[in-house]
C-alpha cells in the first residue's frame, strides 16, 4: 500500500470538495441550508473553463467562476430570504437550474482545450520526503483552500463579523434587538457560500480534471452539504471531512490498481461508507453543534 500516493490523491481530489464544504459551513452558520451547492459548483466549473478559454487567463476564469456560483446562490437567497420559500425545495430546484443552464451553455466547450491552472510545486518544500508530494506538489487553489479554511475559522469564531454570522444562525432575534438585520447577514453568507462552491467547481474543471463535461461534479456538491454536519459547522474540521471523502476515493482506486482481492463494488462504496460510519459515531455530538435557526421557520426574516 502506497500511503504517500493515497494521501496525495486525497489532497488533490479533496480541494474541489473542501471549497463547497466551507461555503456551506458559512451559509448554514447564518441559518440557511443551500442544496443548490451542486448547481453553484457546476456554474463555477463551466464559467471558469469558458472564461479561461475566452480570456486566455486562468485566474480571470477562477474569479468568473466564483461570481457565477455566487449569482446562482443569489436565486436561492432571494427565494428563501425574501420570498420565504421552503429552502430544501428551492435548493434542489437551484441545483437542477444549474445543471440545465450549464448543460445548455456548456455544449460549445465540451472537449475544448483548457487554459489550465497547472501544478505549482512549492520550491524546496515539494522535495521533502513524503509531505513534499502529499502537501506541496499541487495547484495554487489547493494551497489556498487550506489557507481559506484557517481564515474562515478565525472569521467565524474570533471576529465581530463571525459573531453576527453565528447570531444570524443561532438567535436572529438578538440581531434584531441590536438594530441589525439577520436577512442582510444571511444574504451575505449565502452569496459567500455560492462563491466558494463556484471556486470548488473552478478548481475541478481548470486545475484538477482539465475538462468540462455536463454534470461533471457528479454529486460532489451534495457530499459537501453532508460533510458540513461531519465538520460540526467548523471550517477547520471541514478539511478532514473533505479529505476523508477524497481519501477514500483515492484509497479504493489505489487498491484496484494494486490488484486487491476486495470486490470492486464494495471498494466503490467506500467513500460513502466512510462518511456514514463516522457520522453514525459522532451524530449525537454533531446534532448539538447545529445552528439553532436551521431547524426553524424564518419568522424574523423581514
Amino acid at each position: 500500500m502506497n500511503v504517500e500516493a493515497v494521501l496525495a490523491g486525497a489532497v488533490a481530489g479533496g480541494t474541489s470538495i473542501l471549497y463547497p464544504t466551507l461555503g456551506e459551513v458559512i451559509s448554514e452558520r447564518a441559518g440557511v441550508i443551500n442544496l443548490g451547492t451542486e448547481g453553484s459548483m457546476l456554474a463555477g466549473a463551466l464559467t471558469a473553463y469558458a472564461v479561461g478559454i475566452q480570456t486566455g487567463n486562468p485566474w480571470a476564469g477562477v474569479v468568473a467562476g466564483m461570481v457565477a456560483g455566487s449569482l446562482l446562490s443569489l436565486v436561492h437567497a432571494f427565494m428563501v430570504l425574501t420570498r420565504g420559500a421552503n429552502q430544501i425545495a428551492v435548493g434542489l430546484v437551484v441545483t437542477f437550474l444549474g445543471l440545465g443552464l450549464t448543460a445548455l451553455f456548456g455544449q460549445d466547450f465540451v472537449g475544448r482545450g483548457v487554459v489550465a491552472l497547472r501544478e505549482f510545486p512549492i520550491p524546496g518544500l515539494s522535495s521533502l520526503p513524503f509531505v513534499g508530494r502529499v502537501l506541496f506538489s499541487h495547484d495554487v487553489l489547493t494551497y489556498l483552500s487550506l489557507v481559506a479554511a484557517v481564515v474562515l475559522w478565525f472569521m467565524v469564531f474570533r471576529t465581530r463579523t463571525g459573531m453576527k454570522l453565528r447570531a444570524a444562525g443561532e438567535r436572529p432575534d438578538v440581531l434584531h434587538t441590536f438594530g441589525m438585520s439577520p436577512t442582510v447577514v444571511r444574504y451575505a453568507a449565502v452569496l459567500c457560500g455560492g462563491a466558494l462552491a463556484g471556486l470548488g467547481g473552478a478548481q475541478l474543471s481548470t486545475a484538477f480534471t482539465l475538462n468540462w463535461s455536463e454534470g461533471m461534479t457528479v454529486g460532489r456538491g451534495f457530499v459537501a452539504v453532508g460533510l458540513v454536519i461531519f465538520a460540526a459547522w467548523n471550517p477547520l474540521k471541514a478539511i478532514f471531512g473533505a479529505y476523508l471523502f477524497s481519501g477514500a476515493i483515492a484509497l479504493q482506486l489505489q487498491l484496484q490498481a494494486e490488484g486487491s482481492d476486495i470486490s470492486r463494488y464494495l471498494l466503490q462504496a467506500l467513500p460513502y461508507l466512510a462518511v456514514i460510519v463516522v457520522l453514525a459515531i459522532l451524530s449525537r455530538r454533531r446534532a448539538n453543534a447545529a445552528p439553532e435557526a436551521l431547524s426553524r421557520v424564518f419568522e424574523h426574516s423581514t
Binding site: 427565494m79 437542477f96 448543460a103 455544449q107 472537449g111 480534471t209 461533471m216 489505489q254 470492486r264
Partner: protein, 381 residues
C-alpha cells in the same frame, strides 16, 4: 402569502422547464427537399435517441454523426433527435413522442435503451426499432433489430501498438462497469499487447461511472504510481485521462474519438466509430420494404470477417513506427481472412483454458463475456 406562493411556483416551474428542456433536448430538423436525389418517400420520418449529449466527443456524437449521414442520404426524410434520454421508462416516453410526430424508424442508441425499445416495438408494429449494442435473440419481432460492430478488433491492434511501445510492461485501462462489451475490450487490448510482448500486463480500474472526471484524474494517478506507461480507457468523456497521461509523460491509447491533438507527444492510436454506411444501409433496407427477415431484423453484428467494421482504428501517433504499423495491417488482414482477436488459446485469470488452440468464439459468445484473460490485473465483480 398567496403572492409569495405564486412567485415560488413561477420560479420552480421556470426552473423545471429549463432543466427539462436542456435535460432532454428534442429538436426536429426538417430536411430541405432537395428534390430527386432521395428515394422519393417524402413521408419518411426517422428518430434517433441518445443517452448523452450529441456533442460529447464520444459514443453519442458518433451515433449523431451517423444520423447526419442518414439525413444526407435521404434528404426528404424528417430526422428527429432526442438527446440525454435516460435508460428508464422515460426512453419509452421519448419514443412515443417521436411516434406521435410520425416516426417510421427509431434508432435507440444506448445499451440500456433495449428493453424500452423492445416494449415499444411490441406496441407499435408499424414502426421499425433498431437498437445499438443489445441482443434480442432468435425469436425476434418483425419490427425490431440490433446492430453493432466488433469494437474489440481495433482495440486488439491498439493493444499491439501499446505492447510494442511500453517500457515498463505495464498498461492501464480505466473503465466504467464490467459489462461484456467492456470486458471484451480490456481482454482484446491485453491479448493484442501480449501477442508482441509476453511480459506485459494490463491493470484495469473501474470508476463506477461513464463520466466522472474527478475520479478519472485520481484513477490515472493511481495507475501511474504503479509504473504504468500506457493508459487507455472505456469512458464517455475521455479528455481528463488523456490530459493527465500526457502531462505525466506517459502514452495514450484513445477510445471513441481521435484525441491526438490533446496528446501530441504520447498518442499511440485508438479506436472510434464510423456509423455512416451502416445506418444508411439499414434505412435503405427498411425503405425498400426488405426489412423483415433481413440480416438487420435480428442481432446484426459486423466485423472485419463479415464486412466493414464500423469501429475503425484512429490515426497513429509518432511513437508507432512503420514496422508496428505494418504488423498491425498484417493482423487486420488476418481478421478479414477469418481470424479473431479471441482465437484460442485464450486463458482466464486463473490460467483455465476458455477457448482452446484452434477454437474461436462466436460474436454472441464475445458479447456475453464475463471474465478477464490472464495478464489483466483487476476483478470483474
Amino acid at each position: 402569502m398567496t403572492r409569495r406562493r405564486r412567485w415560488t411556483a413561477a420560479l420552480v416551474a421556470l426552473s423545471l422547464v429549463f432543466a427539462a428542456s436542456c435535460g432532454s433536448d428534442d429538436s426536429s430538423d426538417e430536411a430541405g427537399g432537395g428534390g430527386g436525389t432521395g428515394d422519393g418517400d417524402s413521408d419518411l420520418t426517422i428518430g434517433f435517441l441518445y443517452v448523452g449529449p450529441k456533442d460529447d466527443f464520444g459514443y453519442n456524437q458518433a451515433a449523431y454523426e451517423g444520423s447526419l449521414a442518414v439525413e444526407a442520404a435521404f434528404p426528404e426524410a424528417t430526422i428527429l433527435q432526442a438527446e440525454n434520454v435516460p435508460e428508464t421508462a422515460e426512453a419509452e416516453a421519448a419514443m412515443q413522442d417521436m411516434i406521435d410526430r410520425g416516426a417510421d424508424i427509431i434508432f435507440a442508441t444506448s445499451f440500456g435503451h433495449l428493453e424500452f425499445a423492445a416494449n415499444m416495438a411490441e406496441q407499435n408494429p408499424d414502426v421499425v426499432f433498431l437498437h445499438q449494442g443489445g441482443l434480442v435473440g432468435d425469436d425476434v419481432l418483425d419490427n425490431l433489430g440490433t446492430y453493432f460492430g466488433t469494437v474489440y478488433e481495433p482495440v486488439y491492434t491498439a493493444g499491439v501498438a501499446a505492447g510494442m511501445a511500453t517500457e515498463t510492461d505495464k498498461l492501464g485501462y480505466v473503465y466504467a462497469f464490467p459489462i461484456p462489451q467492456t470486458l471484451a475490450n480490456i481482454n482484446a487490448f491485453q491479448l493484442g499487447a501480449a501477442s508482441v510482448n509476453p511480459d506485459v500486463e494490463t491493470i484495469a480500474i473501474s470508476t463506477g461511472s461513464w463520466c466522472d472526471p474527478g475520479t478519472q484524474a485520481t484513477a490515472t494517478q493511481s495507475l501511474l504510481d504503479q509504473g504504468v506507461d500506457v493508459i487507455t480507457q472505456h469512458q464517455d468523456c475521455t479528455k481528463t485521462i488523456i490530459e493527465a497521461t500526457e502531462a505525466a509523460g506517459a502514452m495514450s491509447v484513445g477510445y471513441h474519438f481521435d484525441a491526438s491533438e490533446l496528446a501530441p507527444e504520447g498518442w499511440l492510436t485508438g479506436s472510434e466509430w464510423d456509423w455512416d454506411d451502416l445506418f444508411v444501409q439499414i434505412v435503405q433496407t427498411i425503405v425498400d420494404g426488405d426489412f423483415v427477415g433481413s440480416e438487420f431484423n435480428g442481432d446484426f453484428r459486423v466485423g472485419l470477417q463479415t464486412g466493414d467494421n464500423p469501429f475503425v482504428q484512429s490515426p497513429f501517433g509518432p511513437l508507432v513506427d512503420a514496422d508496428t504499423q505494418a504488423l498491425i495491417e498484417e493482423i487486420e488482414a488476418g481478421f478479414i481472412d477469418g481470424g479473431s482477436p479471441f482465437a484460442g488459446p485464450v486463458l482466464d485469470q486463473d490460467g483455465e483454458i476458455v477457448w482452446a488452440d484452434g477454437e474461436q468464439p462466436t460474436y454472441d459468445e464475445v458479447e456475453t463475456m464475463d471474465f478477464f484473460v490472464i495478464g489483466v490485473i483487476g476483478r470483474t465483480d
